[in-house]
């Protein structure tokens, strides 16, 4: 990721050295505000990109250099020979995705495949929803509902099997629901990391599928006040987005603030009708009624940075309100899908979420170790609103909030502590403890999930041992202990209804007990052994073997009801054991300056996998078919990801990303060996980019691109899941930087699905309603930096 040019040794004392350096970007321009870390010391580069470290006694200096949008550089510089260095950082999305060190240096690599997403990548893929940006990565997909809500899917695992965190704090909302969004300001993402594969050792049991971390606590450059205005406009849902941030730092204290507003209309679908439950439902003017929405986010951060301490406290509030297509709620009804001649209104049914978060991150650096303490409080208040309706003759609308159908309010307290020890005879050790307390309360005239309390603790230790410069061994061990207690819920209206429709009293009573008081405890060990081998400068290989474990979520233990539009009575099962599996994950990377090939095959064997199983028993709830009960089975999941990047003829760059997944239940009965639900089809993403000649002073860094995303048919489907046909979608775009006086304004103009193809996303919540994906979308993103 960076080129180190080591030159001009300057000897200071016989025993002590000064290390001076300068950090520059890919255009040889100074990078002020880079974060340089050496042992117990912190420093940042000044306005000329220069830094210095004085009174160094060691012969080997292990430096870490990081900057927003650029990959962290870890290197060892041998003293006394070179003491004045030039460090060139390169943005992640540029072709040369590697750290080239000229001189004596070593680079580190994690055991699992990790993708760091730079500011450039996030700018180019900005769509108003963070997870939507990740779609291009091999092995990562988004599970969408409508035009602006999405959830991550990694290697076909999603919902409670993927952890999304912000500054190391796990985001806690109602992540079990495919139609629930992720409450993250899409513009408040400075950089992000995506780890594919089981990452439970360090990030908790839910990271069995993967881990996505969003960073927005990078330190601003010293003695500087700056900001940025982002404007985003999209045609497919008439989205207008505005986000502005400002950050300022005196020597040791910094302050950041951001506000974001997004407003979008119903979105365009390239079809006039959808066929649902054998009924033709009209889509007036090709706009899907009541899918408009809005989002208002604010956040602020206060931090201090000294030689030994970096500490920050951040507050954020995310508010989202989005309508549901009324044809997707219950039995299709033509009256409800009639054109209301208003594309921007949000009528019933709709969902609304407010997420408050306070995070405190503290890092203390000492000579050979560092301590980290992360504390957080989150309040996720999610509600689904639908005009009061009931099938129970005894039930009348509540006097307060009569149209509040479901409300889940989850409060989470988190406290994580970690210690890192560097360079202990070639070992880098970290150990930590993570604690989380959750309290869920409910409201609304409908019932799905009971109130619950839960507590979980995790204790882990990790070691990275460098056997020699070519061979690294990673070891990890984790112990998890968790406890969940659900509250009882008795549904008097259901009891009356069942008795009036002819049920026996005992049966009615049993049904009306929607949840019982239960108390369950889970504990387990998980481990990881990883080997990273670099036989030559160009090739690196990695292999991980491990055991993973996941605590069942309260939904899997105790849900009992019909969730929106599904016609499914979903029932938890408190007798479930924890999910357990073994995995093998491998990777081969071959990189030269103009070429990069990565191949990642993996196989997971779950000795206990939790899934929703159709039971064949008819539910007595109105509008429900058979009961789907959470059950456990054996399962196998395997796949391969391939990424190829090649630059040629100086200005051309081609990227190819592909993913293949195959999975199935391994139940005793071979006739029940169904594939797992929501499995992404084999897909390929190809992008060709051309960098224009930048002699023009007005337009700089201009490039144009054309991309093609395709997927094969997905016919391997879970029980009662629809097959989805393959598709091809083409997009084009242009990025440039315009100099407006001294101000460089970044522009990204692009058009997706330019042929307005009608296709279905197998992972979309709307898929089962036969609603196609959004049609052609043209969008413009403008970024204006502010300097004061």
């Amino acid at each position: 990721m960076a080129v180190l040019i080591l030159s001009m040794p300057v000897l200071v004392f016989s025993q002590e050295y000064n290390l001076k350096g300068r950090v520059i970007d890919e255009n040889q321009l100074a990078l002020p505000g880079c974060h340089i870390h050496y042992q117990n010391r912190f420093t940042t580069t000044d306005n000329h990109g220069s830094f210095s470290l004085k009174h160094i006694v060691d012969k080997e200096v292990e430096l870490q250099v990081s900057f927003i949008g650029y990959n962290q550089l870890d290197t060892i510089i041998k003293l006394p020979s070179p003491t004045n260095i030039v460090i060139q950082l390169k943005p992640e999305n540029k072709l040369i995705q590697q750290i080239l060190i000229q001189g004596k240096g070593v680079t580190k690599a994690g055991a699992l495949k990790q993708e760091t997403l730079s500011k450039q990548f996030l700018t180019k893929t900005q769509s108003g929803s963070f997870i939507g940006s990740l779609n291009q990565l091999p092995g990562v997909n988004s599970m969408d509902i409508g035009s602006n809500i999405s959830k991550p899917v990694i290697r076909g695992l999603s919902l409670n099997r993927v952890v999304v965190s912000e500054n190391g704090i796990k985001q806690e909302g109602q992540q079990w629901g495919a139609d629930h969004g992720l409450e993250i300001d899409p513009f408040a993402v400075e950089t992000a990391e995506v780890v594919k594969g089981p990452s439970s050792i360090e990030y908790g049991s839910d990271a069995i599928g993967g881990y996505i971390n969003i960073n927005n606590n990078l330190t601003p450059a010293p003695d500087q006040t700056s900001g940025e205005i982002n404007l985003l406009a999209k045609s497919v849902n008439k989205l207008i987005g505005l986000s502005a941030n400002i950050e300022t730092r005196s020597n040791h204290i910094y302050l950041k603030a951001r506000g974001t507003a997004l407003d979008f209309s119903d979105y365009h679908v390239p079809t006039d009708t959808v066929i649902y439950l054998s009924r033709k439902i009209p889509i007036f003017n090709q706009y899907l009624k009541n899918t408009a929405g809005k989002e208002y986010d604010v956040s602020g951060q206060l931090g201090i940075i000294t030689n030994q301490v970096k500490s920050s406290i951040a507050f954020s509030r995310v508010f989202q309100k989005t309508g549901f297509f009324p044809g997707s709620h219950g039995i299709p009804n033509l009256a409800r899908v009639q054109d209301d001649h208003n594309k921007r209104n949000i009528d019933f049914p709709f969902q609304k979420t407010t997420h408050y978060k306070v995070i405190s991150n503290t890092n203390l650096h000492f000579m050979h170790f560092s301590l980290q303490a992360d504390l957080a409080f989150q309040d996720n208040n999610r509600s689904e609103w639908s005009q009061f309706h009931t099938h129970y003759s005894g039930q009348t609308a509540p006097t307060v909030n009569p149209d509040l159908e479901l409300n889940f309010r989850l409060k989470t307290y988190q406290a994580n502590f970690k210690m890192n020890i560097y360079n202990l005879n070639g070992n880098s050790l970290s150990a930590g403890i993570q604690n989380q307390w959750k309290l869920n309360t409910i409201d609304g005239y409908n019932f799905f999930l009971p109130e619950y309390k839960s507590h979980s603790s995790g204790l882990f230790i990790k070691d990275e041992y460098q056997v020699n410069p070519k061979l690294n061994i990673h070891l990890g061990l984790r112990y998890d202990l968790s406890h969940v207690r659900t509250e009882e819920f008795y549904d008097r209206f259901l009891e009356d209804y069942l008795i009036s429709s002819g049920s026996e009293e005992e049966e009615a009573h049993q049904y009306a007990t929607r949840s019982t008081k239960i108390s369950k405890q889970f504990q387990n060990f998980s481990w990881l052994v990883g080997i990273v081998l670099k036989p030559s400068k160009m090739i690196s290989t990695r292999l991980n073997l491990g055991k993973a474990f996941r605590t069942p979520s309260p939904i899997e233990l105790s849900a009992n009801g019909i969730h929106h539009g599904s016609f499914r009575h979903e029932q938890g099962n408190y007798q479930l054991s924890a999910e357990r599996g073994y995995y093998a994950d491998a990777g081969i990377e071959w990189k030269t300056e103009s070429f990069q090939l990565e191949v990642n095959p993996y196989i997971y064997y779950f000795s206990n996998y939790l899934y929703l199983n159709p039971t064949g028993e008819w539910s007595k709830l109105p509008h429900a078919g058979q009961i789907y009960r959470y059950s456990q089975t054996k399962a196998v999941l395997s796949g391969i990801e391939i990424r190829l990047i090649k630059s040629f003829w100086q200005r051309w760059n081609i990227q190819f990303n592909s993913e293949y997944i195959r999975n199935e239940q391994r139940s005793e009965n071979t006739k029940q060996r169904y594939p797992l639900p929501f499995t992404p089809p084999t897909n390929v993403f190809i992008e060709l980019q051309y960098q224009l000649n930048s002699k023009n002073k007005r337009f700089q860094n201009t490039s144009v691109f054309i991309n093609h995303k395709s997927a094969l048919d997905q016919n391997r489907v879970a029980q009662n899941e629809l097959s989805t046909s393959g598709y091809q979608v083409v997009g084009v775009g242009l990025n440039t930087m315009i100099k407006w006086g001294e101000t460089p304004i970044e522009l990204v103009f692009q058009s997706n699905n330019i042929f307005n193809a009608k296709y279905f996303n197998h992972l979309s919540f709307y898929r089962k309603l036969e609603i196609p994906e959004p049609g052609r979308n043209t969008q413009l993103l403008i970024k204006v930096p502010l300097t004061f």
């Binding site: 009256a335 009061f388 099938h391 609308a397 009036s500 081969i588 196989i603 159709p614 109105p622 071979t670």
Partner: protein
């Protein structure tokens, strides 16, 4: 160094092989849903309060039928936009659900019965007239499920086609 490398490469290759081999498994599962073809009642048909409903339907599946369920409930709030469901003074909405298992080994069958009785009163209160949903659900032996919904209207009065 060489040995690490070889072992490592061998392991990675074996993962490739397992990943590819596991994809050659040929267990066939049943993903075909049963088919429901409703003959009676038809969309927007009138059902008479105080009579039994004439139900006639064909069910078929490629492997074996398991069972079916009939559910009737009101659709009142849709048109009236009232906040509770009592549409007529002193009347109560009718609701019905029942399920039946098919005989073992059946792939196709024609069902005809009059088991759905719409009473004149429910708990001493008049049955409400109006729009109702009539839902039919069917499962096959593997758990594949299909459903069909039609709209029916419940009215007072004599069924003019009283027969069968």
């Amino acid at each position: 160094m060489k040995t690490y490398h070889n072992t490592h490469t061998t392991l990675i290759i074996s993962i490739f092989t397992i990943a590819i081999l596991s994809s050659c498994n040929k267990d066939e599962v049943d993903n075909t849903q049963p088919i429901i073809t409703i003959d009676e009642p038809m969309e927007n048909d009138t059902l008479y309060i105080g009579s039994d409903a004439h139900f006639e339907c064909d069910f078929s599946d490629d492997t074996e039928l398991s069972s079916y369920k009939i559910e009737i409930h009101n659709d009142f709030d849709e048109h009236s936009h009232v906040k509770s469901i009592s549409i007529e003074e002193d009347s109560v909405a009718f609701s019905y659900q029942n399920s039946w298992s098919f005989d073992e080994g059946l792939k196709n069958t024609h069902i005809h019965h009059h088991e759905i009785v719409i009473p004149e009163t429910i708990g001493g209160v008049r049955t409400a007239q109006g729009n109702y949903h009539f839902g039919i659900y069917c499962t096959d032996i593997a758990g594949n499920e299909s459903h069909q919904f039609i709209d029916v209207i419940l009215v007072n009065g004599e069924d003019p086609h009283e027969e069968d």
